[in-house]
Symmetry: C2
Subunit: 478 residues, 2 copies
C-alpha cells in the first residue's frame, strides 16, 4: 500500500466550488482567519490549509466530500480542536481543506423512555451533558476538554475519561451514527437500538477511526439515570502492588456503583501541593500512592458512605491500603478531585515532561510501572516518573518529568527513545500504546511496530474500501 | 458484486489433505456420522457437506483455512449448532466443509484483578458461566440454549438474552478475540483492555459477522461481581402503552440494579397456564399485559425489596401499572420466571407460529405492537399475536399463533408475506429486522430491503477485503 496520498492541491475553480457549497460567509480563505484551525492547542502541530469550510448540515458535508472525491482534494475533519495526537491538524502542504463541524449543533431528539438523545456532531461535550441534564438524565462521558471538545470528535477518537469504568468509552455510549462517506453518500445509521444484529457493525468501525473512514455528522447517544448520591474516597497506599487487589475488592462489592478509580503517585501530589492554589496534603503523613475513587447511585438513600467505610476498613485489614478518607462534604470531595485534576497541569511547572498514554491489564499496572521506572532511571538518571490515571481501566498516563536542573531541550530530546522503550514494556504486557488519545500523526509511525502485520493489512484494506482515493484525513492513523 | 460463490467442490486429494491436518479421528467423512452437524435443531435447515473437521487448536484452524483458500473450498464454521437463522448449516451442494470448534475448550486465563477470562471458542456458554462462578465472578450472558451454544458462536452472532439491559450483548462482553482469517493468518487480538485506541475496531467488526469474516478461536471475556441479592417482580398492566413509562421510572431509580425487564401478553400467559406443568396465574384477576423485572445487587443488604416496593407503589399511583407482586422466595421468583421461559415452547401446542425477532426504540414498542396486531388481523383474521420479550432493549419476539382450527400449513404459507409486512412497520419505526438472532440464511434476502444501499455496499467491500475468495460461510448474511 502506497503511503503517498493521491490527493491534489485544489485549484481556484475547485476552491470557488467548495465555497459555493457552504456560502462565502461560512468559508475561510484568509490565512490569518484560518489560524485557529491550523494549530493544535498545545502548539505541538501546526499546518496549512487551502480553505476552512463550515458546512451547516450533513447535506453540505455530503456535497463537499463528493466534490473532494471528484477533485482528489484531501479533507481534514475537525471538531473542537482538542485532540492530543495531531489528527485534526492539516499537514504543512497547504493543499488540504479543513471541514469544521462547529455549525452542526442541533439536538434532533430526546427520547426519555428509550433513554437516548440524537445530537449533531458540532455540539460540545459540555453542551451534550447539559442537554441530558435538563432532561433529567446523565450523559456520563466527561473529559478535561469537555467545554470545547465536540461530539463528532469525541466519537471519531473514541474518547474515554474518568467514567469509562462504569459507563464505557464513547463507542459504548453511541447507539447509532449519521456519517458522510468519502463519496458523499450519507449513511443513516441513526438507530437508537440496544440490539441490532442485521449485518456488520459499521458504527463501531467508524467510531475511533479518526476521520479516516467518514465524517460523523450526528449520533444517537445513550442516557443514564441522574446521580442522586455521590461519595468520594481517598486511600493512601504504601505500594502500588496492592492497588489492583483493593480495586478488585471495591468492584466486587460496589459493582456498578464504583464509577471511578484513579491512582496518583506521591510525587504527583507533591507537584500539585507545590504549584496548585489552595491545595493541601490529604493525609497527616505522606503515602507512596493514593487511590481516588467514587461511588455513585441514582438513589439518595445515604447508603454509599457506609459502603465506602466498609470497603476502606476491609482494605486496611487486608493490608491493601494504609489510610483512608471518606469525603463528607461537597467541598471535601472537590478538594480530593482537585489533586487529580491538576495532575497534568502542574507537571509543566516542573520542566519538560515526556508523556505516554498507555493501557495494560489492570493486574499488570504495578509491574508496568516498576519496569518503566527502572528503565527511566537507566536511560535518564534523575528523571522523575509521574504515573497516574485510570487504574480501573488499566489506563496509565505515564508521564516523566525532567531531572531538576537539566536543560529542558536536552531532556526532551529523549522523547522518542523513551517512548519506544516504554512501549516495548507495554506490548510485552499485552497492552496498548494508545489507550485514549488515538494515533493521529503522533503515533502513526509507531503503529507498524505495535500492531500485528495482518491487523494493519486488514485496516489498510478497510481504509481502501471506504475511501479509495484516500481523501479523508490522509496520513493520519494509517 | 456477484452472489455466486467462487468456491469449488474439494476433490479426493484435497479432502485427504484436510483430514491430515486434524487427524483421521477428528474428521468425519461418513454421511450418517455427519448428520448432527448438517441439521438445524428445529429441522428448519438441512444441508450436506463434503467433510466435517474438528480441529484441536487455532493452528489447525489456520492450516484448514489456508488450504481452503488455496483450493477455493467453502467453509462453514459451527459452534453448538443452536443458531436460529441457519447460519451454521451448509447448503445442499455437499461441496462445503464444516469446521466444528467443539474441541477448543481450554480456559487459557482467569485474571481476577482485571476481571477477565480468556477462553476458547468451543467452551459452551454454560461452561463459561461455570468457570466464572467458580472464580467468584459472574459472566452475565444467558440464553435458553446456553447448555449447547458455544462461545465462538455466541460471539459470531453477537448473542443477546435477558441480561443485555444491564450488561450488554456478546459484543460488549468481549474485550479481545483470536481469529483465524480467510488466508489462514491468525490475528491475535486477545487484549484484555477496557481502553485501546490504536486503530480500527476489528474486534467489534468480527463479532456479529456470522463466520463470514473469520473464525473466532478464543476470546477475552469480561467478568462482573457475583449477584448477592436478587428480587423478582411482576406487574399487571391494563395496556402496553404505559409499559415504557414504567420501565423508564424503574430504570431512573434502580439504575444498573435493574438487570432484566420483560413483557408478556395475557394470551401468552394463558398459553403457559394451559400447557405448562405446575404453572399458575400470577394475579387473582387477569391483566392485559405483564411486566417481569429483576433487581440485583452485588451486596446482600436487603435493600432491593424496599426499592421494588417503592417502584411498584409509584407505578400504581401514576396509573402505569394496575397490580404488582414482589417475589419473597426463590420458588416464587422461579414461578414468575417460568411464565417467561415457557413462552416460546408453549406456542407449539397452539399450532403453527410465525415468528419475528425485531427491535424498535423502547418508546415505540406499544405503537409497533398495535400496528402489527392490526395488520395481522387484516391479513389473517383470527390469528393470535403473542408479542413478548425484552422491553428494556426494545427487542420483541413478535410471534403469531395460527387461528384455532385453521390448517397449520395454510397458516404457515403466510410466513413470508407477514414477515414482509411486519418488517415494514419495524423499519418505519427506525427498528431492526434482526435484533438478536442474526441474518444467516433466513433473512439474507431481506437485507437489501432493510438496509440502506450504501451500508450494504460497504459491508460487501469489507467482506471482499477480509475474504477475497468468498470461502467463509458463503451465501450467509450477505
Amino acid at each position: 500500500m502506497k503511503r503517498t496520498p493521491k490527493h491534489k492541491p485544489p485549484g481556484p475553480d475547485t476552491i470557488d466550488a467548495f465555497v459555493r457549497i457552504v456560502g462565502a460567509s461560512h468559508a475561510i480563505r484568509d490565512e490569518a482567519e484560518m489560524a485557529p484551525y491550523l494549530v493544535e492547542w498545545r502548539d505541538r502541530y501546526r499546518g496549512k490549509a487551502a480553505l476552512v469550510l463550515k458546512p451547516g448540515d450533513a447535506s453540505e458535508v455530503s456535497s463537499i466530500l463528493k466534490l473532494a472525491n471528484e477533485t482528489m482534494t484531501a479533507i481534514v475533519p475537525q471538531g473542537g480542536n482538542t485532540g492530543l495526537v495531531g489528527g485534526q491538524i492539516p499537514f504543512e502542504s497547504g493543499h488540504e481543506v479543513v471541514i469544521s463541524l462547529e455549525r452542526l449543533t442541533h439536538v434532533r431528539d430526546i427520547d426519555l423512555a428509550s433513554n437516548t438523545m440524537t445530537v449533531e456532531a458540532g455540539l460540545t461535550l459540555a453542551q451534550a451533558q447539559a442537554v441530558a441534564a435538563s432532561a433529567g438524565r446523565l450523559f456520563p462521558l466527561s473529559l478535561a476538554s469537555e467545554g470545547s471538545a465536540q461530539i463528532g470528535g469525541v466519537l471519531a477518537t473514541n474518547a474515554g475519561g474518568t467514567a469509562v469504568l462504569a459507563y464505557g468509552s464513547a463507542r459504548e455510549l453511541a447507539l447509532g451514527l449519521e456519517v458522510v462517506l468519502a463519496g458523499g453518500e450519507v449513511w443513516n445509521g441513526l438507530k437508537s437500538l440496544r440490539k441490532d444484529n442485521s449485518g456488520y457493525d459499521l458504527k463501531d468501525l467508524i467510531v475511533g477511526s479518526e476521520g479516516t473512514l467518514g465524517i460523523i455528522t450526528a449520533a444517537v447517544l445513550r442516557l443514564f439515570p441522574k446521580v442522586a448520591e455521590k461519595v468520594t474516597c481517598m486511600a493512601g497506599l504504601d505500594a502500588l502492588e496492592t492497588a489492583p487487589a483493593f480495586f478488585a475488592r471495591a468492584l466486587e462489592r460496589a459493582g456498578p456503583a464504583l464509577t471511578a478509580f484513579e491512582i496518583l503517585p506521591r510525587i504527583g501530589v507533591e507537584f500539585v501541593l507545590r504549584h496548585g492554589q489552595g491545595t493541601r496534603d490529604p493525609f497527616p503523613s505522606p503515602h507512596q500512592w493514593y487511590a481516588l475513587f467514587e461511588l455513585t447511585s441514582p438513589r439518595d438513600d445515604a447508603l454509599l458512605a457506609p459502603l465506602a467505610e466498609f470497603l476502606l476498613a476491609r482494605g486496611i485489614e487486608a493490608g491493601e491500603i494504609a489510610d483512608a478518607i471518606v469525603a463528607t462534604s461537597l467541598s471535601q470531595s472537590e478538594a480530593l478531585w482537585r489533586l487529580r485534576e491538576l495532575m497534568s497541569e502542574v507537571q509543566k511547572e516542573e520542566g519538560g515532561s515526556i508523556k505516554h498514554d498507555i493501557a495494560v491489564p489492570v493486574a499488570s499496572v504495578p509491574e508496568f510501572v516498576a519496569r518503566a521506572n527502572r528503565l527511566v532511571e537507566l536511560m535518564i538518571p534523575g528523571a522523575r516518573p509521574v504515573p497516574f490515571g485510570h487504574l480501573g481501566d488499566g489506563n496509565i498516563h505515564y508521564n516523566v518529568s525532567q531531572p531538576p536542573g537539566m536543560e529542558r531541550a536536552v531532556f526532551l530530546a529523549n522523547w522518542e527513545a523513551l517512548n519506544a522503550a516504554v512501549h516495548e514494556i507495554v506490548l510485552d504486557l499485552g497492552g496498548s500504546i494508545s489507550a485514549e488519545h488515538g494515533i493521529g500523526r503522533l503515533k502513526r509511525d509507531l503503529l507498524p511496530h505495535a500492531k500485528q502485520k495482518i491487523a494493519l493489512d486488514i485496516m489498510r484494506k478497510i481504509k481502501a474500501a471506504f475511501d479509495p482515493n484516500n481523501i479523508l484525513n490522509p496520513g493520519k492513523l494509517l
